[in-house]
Amino acid sequence: MTAAYKGFLLLSIIKMIVIFTIVMIGVALLTLMERKVSAWMQNRRGPNRVGWAGLLQPAADGIKNIVKEETFPGEANLGIFTLAPAMAFIPALLLSAVIPWAAPLTVNWDANLPLLGAVSYHGSLTMALTDLPVGFLFVLAISSLGVYGIALAGWASNNKYSLLGGLRSSAQMVSYEVAMGMSLIPVLLLTGNVTFQQIIQSQQQGLWFVLPLFISFFIFLVSGFAETNRLPFDLPEAESELIAGYHTEYSAMKFSMFPISEYANMATVSAMVVTLFFGGWDIPFTSWDQNGGLLAMLATAVVMFLKVLSFLFFFMWIRWTLPRFRYDQLMALGWKVLLPLALVYIMVTAIAIWIIEQVGGVTDTRVKMFILFGLNLVLGYVVFFLMDRGHIMSGSYRASSNLDAGSRRARQAA
C-alpha cells in the first residue's frame, strides 16, 4: 500500500466515525426536539425533567428501550421480523455518506504513524464521506430501499393492521418516488451534472436553486414528506386507523429502530433539500468560504448545520399543524397533481433554458438564473393562485362526485 492510499483510507475512516457519531447523536436529539416543538406549539413545556431542559431525555428513552422486553408475535416470520428494523435503518444511515456537510478542505499531510507507516494526503479533501460521481441518483436509489424495511415489517408481523400499514407505505413511497425523481430533472438541466459538488458550485456561481426552480423545490419537499412517512402523509402509521401501522407488533429496541430511521430519513431529506436548493454549505454573498482553509470548512459546516436544522424544524412544524390526508387524496395528489406538474415543469424549464441560451444568447449564469426566477414567479402564481382553487389538490371533490354519479345510476337502474 502506498502512503497516499493509506492516508486516504485513514482520513476516510476518521470522516466515517465523525459523520456517524454526529448523525446518531443528532437523531437522538431530534426526538427531543420533536417533543419540545410539539409541546411549544400546544402551549406546553415538553420534557424538562431529565438533565438540563430535558437534554438527557433521549438517553433515558434509549436505556428504557434497551432494557425492555422483546416480544415476538406467535405466528410471525421471525427471521424477517428481526431483520426488518435493520432494513429500515441501514438505508437511512447510508444516505448521510454522500452529502457534502462542509466546504472541501485543502490538506497537505505527511506523517509517519506507528503501525501504519508513512501516510500522506495532498489536495482537496471533500467533506462528504465519499463524493460519488452518481451523486443524487445514489440517494434516490438508496432511499427507495427504505420501503423494504417497512413493508417487510408489516408483512412479517402477521397482523392485519401491520400488513395494511406496510402495504400503504409501499404504495405511497413508490408513488412519490416518481414525482421526487422527476422534480430533480430541472436541477440536472440547469447544472448539467448529478454530483453534489457540481450542484453546489453552480448555485454559488448563480443563484440558490430555490429561486430559479421553485416548483421543483416545492414538489421535492412534498414528496420528501411522503417519502419519510411524516405527517400529513403518515398513512403507514396512522395511529387513529391502524393502531401504529407497520410497527404495531414491535417492542423495545426493535421498535425504537423505526423512529430512529424515520428521523435519520428526515435529516437526510433536509440535507438533500439544502444541498439541491439552498446552496448546500454555501454561505450567501461570500466567496471566502471556498478557499479551502480550516476556518472556511468549520464555518460552512456550521452554516450547513443551521440550514438543515431549520428544515428539520419545518418538518416538525408541518407535522404539528396539518391533519393527515385521506388515502385516496394522497394517491390523487401524488399521481394526478405532483407528477404531471413535475413533467410539465421539466418541459417548461427545458424550453426556457433553450430559449435563454440559444435564442437570447445569454451566457452569464447569474443572468440566466434571474430570468428563470422571473419565469418561476409567473408559474408559481399560476400554480398556487389560479389552479389551486378546487382545481388541484382536491381529489376528494372529484371522487365524491364520481360516487354521486354512480349512486344516481344505481338508483335509476333500480
Partner: protein, 172 residues
C-alpha cells in the same frame, strides 16, 4: 325522516389547500411564543397555588379529616350515622363511653380504598366532626396503610371541603 341531517355542500371554488396550510402554520407558530400552561407538578400544586392559576375547587372531596374541639378532643360522639349512611360501607366505628357519660369512638377507621368520596359522612355528621378534605396525594408503600385510623384522620392540616348549598347552587 326521523333525524334532520343538514348536508353541507363542499366549497369548490375559492378554496386553496396551500393557503389554508400556510394559515395553519402561522397559527401554530404564534402558539410557540404564547405563555405555557403546564403546571410543574411537584413544585407547583393545585392545593397550594400562590398565583391562583391552577387552584382546585373548594368543593373538592378528597382525603378525610376528623376535626377536634377547643380542648383538643375529637368532636366525634360515636352516634353511628356515618357508617349507617356510607354507601361503600368503608367506615368502621366502635363507640365507647367515659365516666361522665360522654360518648366517643373507641375505634374509628376509614378504608380509603373502599371510599367513593361521596361526602355523605360530612353531610350527615351532627357534630361536624368527620369531613372530606381538599387533598389528593395519598400514595403509600403498602395496601394496609390505606385504612386510616383515628390518629391519621385527626392529624392532617389540609382544608375541609365546602358542602354544596342548595340555596346557592353555583357557590357564589
Amino acid at each position: 325522516m326521523s333525524i334532520g341531517v343538514k348536508v353541507l355542500k363542499r366549497p369548490e371554488r375559492q378554496v386553496s389547500y396551500v393557503r389554508a396550510a400556510l394559515k395553519g402554520m402561522a397559527l401554530t407558530f404564534k402558539h410557540m411564543f404564547q405563555p405555557k400552561v403546564t403546571m410543574q407538578y411537584p413544585e407547583e400544586k393545585s392545593t397550594s397555588d400562590e398565583r391562583g392559576q391552577y387552584t382546585i375547587s373548594p368543593r373538592w372531596r378528597g382525603t378525610h379529616r376528623m376535626l377536634a374541639d377547643e380542648q383538643g378532643r375529637t368532636k366525634c360522639v360515636a352516634c353511628g350515622l356515618c357508617p349507617q349512611i356510607c354507601p361503600a360501607n368503608c367506615i368502621k366505628l366502635v363507640p365507647g363511653e367515659d365516666e361522665e357519660g360522654n360518648r366517643y369512638p373507641l375505634i374509628y377507621e376509614i378504608d380509603e380504598f373502599r371510599c367513593v368520596f361521596c361526602g355523605y359522612c360530612q353531610e350527615v355528621c351532627p357534630e361536624e366532626a368527620i369531613h372530606v378534605g381538599v387533598h389528593f396525594e395519598n400514595s403509600e408503600y403498602s395496601r394496609d396503610r390505606f385504612v386510616y385510623d383515628l390518629e391519621r384522620l385527626s392529624s392532617p392540616e389540609h382544608s375541609v371541603s365546602t358542602l354544596w348549598d342548595p340555596t346557592d347552587p353555583k357557590g357564589e
